[in-house]
Point group: C2
Chain length 636, copies 2
């Protein structure tokens, strides 16, 4: 059917084998073949081994004149703790579009965090017959982007503590002399990055010797308030003992101890910057303006104030290029960035989507996934990611499962690791129908952005025809463009052909312009309240700390940023156990933080863990290398 | 002269421009061209971008039948704090052999630590017209090996604290049930890695249910003594505030706080393992047997006891392949591993040297560099690296400078960052002659291994003919095979042609078999004393702590390992200010530690810093990206 040389259709086996066995049963194509099929010449990408390549950002500029393809975002209903197969559906849909419907298609996925791969969860490459391969390369190291983020994040952290240390023992004059050493001609000069700070301070002098004592103090003494520092160190390892630590206890650090902690690497603001940046120069500016805390006078202190914004960009200059991989059926995938979906916006990168849209061209499809349920992932996709990218989606897919709908209809609690209750394994149409209120609100909310909504029912073997009909009816009644059942987990692309056709029609029949949920001109509180209303809240209550922070960010001039709500994904409300479509609750805002470089304010609804731990028996017990073949064993 | 398509001769400029300007003035060849020239097919290597490739370990097996080339190690005299150009000489010699003498040649270098690149020191790619390019890719990230080490090191660290945490709150039975969960058929089984521990414990049962309560306790309760833990976390950043920290202060860690710290990543034992391993299966075993501390009963606890040896190997499986790069004159370079030269052995990897020796073949040359002065670097090259590799060098180069020899002859102190004293800039043959005692002892010591010694005088513009003649005469009197002056910094390979010819003759005229300084059967103390004697010491004095450790390692069965002395590089003795050729001193051993997986015991002569800091004005102030060209600025 397809004219492509790279696409292949799968021979599927039933029951579906383990993910790793399916992944290992298919020999991936050399990445140059995948690139050829996209008309990428060898100047457009850098291979990283046989099955991965970094596509260079310059492709965007080169294809500036050509038109974009259709842009599809995949969200989900409020999930159970088991996950409802959003990544798998994203991959399966693309396998259908590419291998069965003869469309140009690219999948844009987030890079998974490496740490959890050795803890409880397995990989994040999809599942069953809808996966990205090679699965081990996808889950481990990939092309080093997260390692680059770790290095950059921690260089900034070291710069903060060291600067406080050196400021504590030196006079203004000594600091100036050290910061502006004489050049070969014996003249003291400002480094370019110091000129940025001078400019910010409103000092327009270009020779250190011309500064007044007051100006010297302003320039050289950042006077960081240790209590205000929000920048933490990161590591891509589940290391719970680093959640809260005291640093600086060595004798040479002269008693300058400080309480701080580590987050997992993907929680770094630099990951959010990578996901939201639009070009190398934009990334340079965002990295430079990341705020690490305040001066004792209350002024925000940035990476550029510390002199390190350029070095961070150098560390990130290859990471800005997305990684090309492939699905089991040989369709192309761009993997890039994987920010948290609560304290950050949980979407893959803007630049990957932009490149993909040019590469598939008019009539082609780019399918990108938004983390968590649509209340969070799709909302942030629209109001943060699309706002910064200027891109307009035509279709939003909402993935639903009979299991999750039954839970929303009042089914017993679903707990990871415990056997599912009978209610989930036998037909119960009434439970499904009752649960569709959750789906309906996701549909209404998503439609409001001006996109067509297609519901994808990710079918399990225990689901019945009557249950699926109930979902379809409810979805159409709630305003979905279409609702289709799909079985890509069991059948690969073939199982999502109907979904592919529905998505195509949805893209071709957009009737409304895109609309955001709130204008940026709204105050921080107005924006928070607009989002809370979309959750069904009757109002918002702010803690004292939240009020203080909102006031501070407003005073510092950051109130024009979009809002990134850090809320549980397990309910529309702040209480994970409130299933279905709760209303009338007051959304509590415990605290408000900001990622100024990435470009959003994030209110905290509850407590978010940013460093996972390891269980008594982590998955690493099963992981090893077959030293004869070099193959990875035990990765799930 | 050469038939090669990749070699090019340089157009040199005088005075020599900045390193980065020279590096940027040459367009590197595509790495596939360098690989072609080595007869590597595309199956033999994985490209990482345009200018780097990982050469796959399988090349060793494929070329098992073919003969090795000549093996040359480059060491140096006791250096000044400015360094005497050992890397530069290593690169320059290879440029001469390849581009001017028409020899097959490969340079084997260590990968530099990324952290210091942003601190005080610049890169480590050589200098002047003898460099590895692209310089920024060499110094930053490269192909991710150090990042892989960081990830593996820290996964092990997390496994230690988490295991202690879970053991503290669970019964033996609960631990067993969690460690051996039921499989799909409902039967409890041991993971393969637990069978390793059972085997070590002498328990030959294969079903968890068959264990006696005593056996369960032995298996599941590692009972780690927190005070005995030697495994620290690492980071490739100069972060002095992490030298000593307290972890576990979060409320969920229930008061299990512990003092520990971070080292810079290259100080990880995993780096030493990478440098000393000989195959994937050997690496698997070494990583598994790394000792992290003792049980409360005094038994060594390993990574495999924690269940994580396989996962560490998975994280390191690509890092085991050396990275192919090129010199300014297009000769091939293998960059691989960069262990500390004090607490580890300071040499690049065995596998890189092995691959290189096969690739150049008979009549070809592999030139590898040993860190620090020859008293440390070359000694460890011979007694640790060659012992594990089974390889035999034919020639050892000793790099000397007039500057360092004058210092050894009694010249004023040389301090980095301060202008050189007049003594170093004007002719003073007597000072040079007096300093040659240092060179002479390095020659005698190195010759004792059965290699021919060639002295390379790395010429500076202020050196005079008479001074250089003095060095040559002293070197020949001390038993050098030859001593030649070279100017590769100013002239590239052309400046080291005479050195290349001398090295070739030295390799072709070996008359003695290789000899180690000590047999492994010696006791730990006998081995320490043999090395101390080579320094000129009259004896060794051990601290109480050192005695205790030697006793412990001997009892644990580790006394058969080679010794890796952690001593200053600035003197043959333990006192950095004792220049020349001191004798009659007692070498103090403050403490004794071990890297059991890597395979050596390391006595500490003095205190070694394993985490550098950042100065008031780190080099990062100058580093940025030209966002138009993507080029790195300010890296030195």
């Amino acid at each position: 059917m397809s004219s492509s040389k790279t696409l292949r259709k799968l021979e599927v086996v039933s029951p579906v084998p383990a993910d790793i066995d399916i992944a290992n049963s298919v020999e991936p194509l050399h990445i140059s073949k995948i690139a050829d099929e996209l008309n990428l010449s060898s100047d457009h990408y850098d291979p990283y081994g046989k099955y991965k390549a970094k596509v260079l950002l310059s492709v965007i500029d080169e294809l500036k004149g050509s038109k974009d393809g259709y842009y599809v975002v995949v969200g989900g209903i409020t999930p159970t703790p088991l996950g409802e197969g959003k990544s798998t559906t994203t991959v399966g849909l693309c396998q259908a579009l590419g291998a069965y419907l003869d469309k140009k298609v690219m999948t844009c996925l987030r890079q998974p965090s490496q740490g959890p791969t050795f803890g409880i969860k397995g990989g994040a490459a999809g599942g069953g017959y809808s996966q990205v391969i090679p699965m081990d390369e996808f889950n481990l190291h990939m092309t080093g982007d997260i390692h680059a983020i770790t290095a950059a994040n921690n260089l900034l952290a070291a710069a903060i503590d060291t600067r406080m240390f050196h400021e504590s023992s030196q006079s203004d004059k000594a600091l100036l002399n050290r910061l502006c050493p004489p050049n070969k001609e014996g003249k003291r000069t400002f480094a370019d990055i110091m000129l940025r700070r001078l400019n910010k301070l409103g000092i327009s002098k270009s020779i250190p010797g011309d500064l007044t004592p007051q100006e010297i103090k302003k320039l050289v003494r950042l006077d960081i308030d240790p209590e205000s520092i929000t920048w933490r160190r990161v590591m891509d390892v589940n290391d719970r003992f680093l959640r809260k630590i005291t640093v600086g206890q060595g004798p040479e650090e002269k008693g300058m101890t400080r309480e701080t902690g580590f987050d997992i690497a993907v929680a770094s603001e630099i990951m959010a910057v990578l996901a939201l940046t639009t070009s190398l120069s934009d990334m340079r500016e965002r990295l430079g303006k990341m705020v690490i805390g305040n001066s004792k006078a209350g002024d925000p202190i940035t990476a550029d104030d510390l002199g390190v914004g350029g070095a961070l960009t150098v560390l990130m200059k290859d990471a800005i290029n997305p990684t090309l991989m492939q699905t089991l059926e040989g369709t192309p995938v761009l993997v890039h960035a994987g920010p948290f979906a609560n304290i950050a916006h949980g979407n893959s990168s803007i630049v990957a989507d932009k490149i993909a849209l040019k590469l598939v061209g008019p009539g082609g499809f780019v399918v990108t996934e938004a983390g968590f349920g649509a209340d969070i992932g799709t909302e942030k996709f629209m109001n943060i990611k699309c706002r910064y990218s200027g891109l307009t989606p035509q279709c939003a897919v909402i993935v639903a499962t009979i299991r999750a709908l039954k839970m929303h209809g009042g089914g017993p609690e679903v707990v990871a690791g415990k056997p599912l209750d009978r209610a989930y394994l036998t037909e119960n149409v009434a439970l499904v129908e009752a649960g569709c209120v959750n789906l309906a609100r996701h549909i209404t909310n998503t439609k409001a952005y001006g996109v067509n909504v297609v519901v994808a029912v990710n079918m399990f073997s225990t689901d019945t025809e009557a249950e699926m009909t109930a979902v379809r009816n409810a979805a159409m009644a709630a305003g979905a463009f279409d609702a289709v059942v799909c079985s890509h987990h069991a059948h690969g692309g073939k199982g999502a052909v109907e979904l592919g056709i529905a998505v195509q029609k949805a893209c071709e029949n957009v009737t409304q312009p895109m609309k955001f949920l709130y204008p940026l001109e709204f105050s921080i509180k107005e924006k928070i309240e607009a989002i809370a209303k979309s959750y069904g809240a009757s109002g918002v209550k702010y803690s004292e700390q939240a009020e203080k922070q909102i006031e501070m960010y407003s005073k510092q001039g950051f109130s024009g940023l979009p809002i990134c709500m850090a809320k549980t994904q397990y309910s529309f409300s702040d209480v994970a156990s409130q299933k279905g479509s709760p209303t009338g609750f007051e959304l509590p805002i415990r605290d408000v933080k900001a990622s100024i470089g990435a470009g959003f304010i994030y209110p905290l609804v509850g407590t978010m863990s940013t460093m996972p731990g390891l269980p008594t028996r982590p998955c690493f017990f099963d992981i090893d290398v077959d030293t004869t073949t070099g193959r990875v064993l035990g990765l799930s």
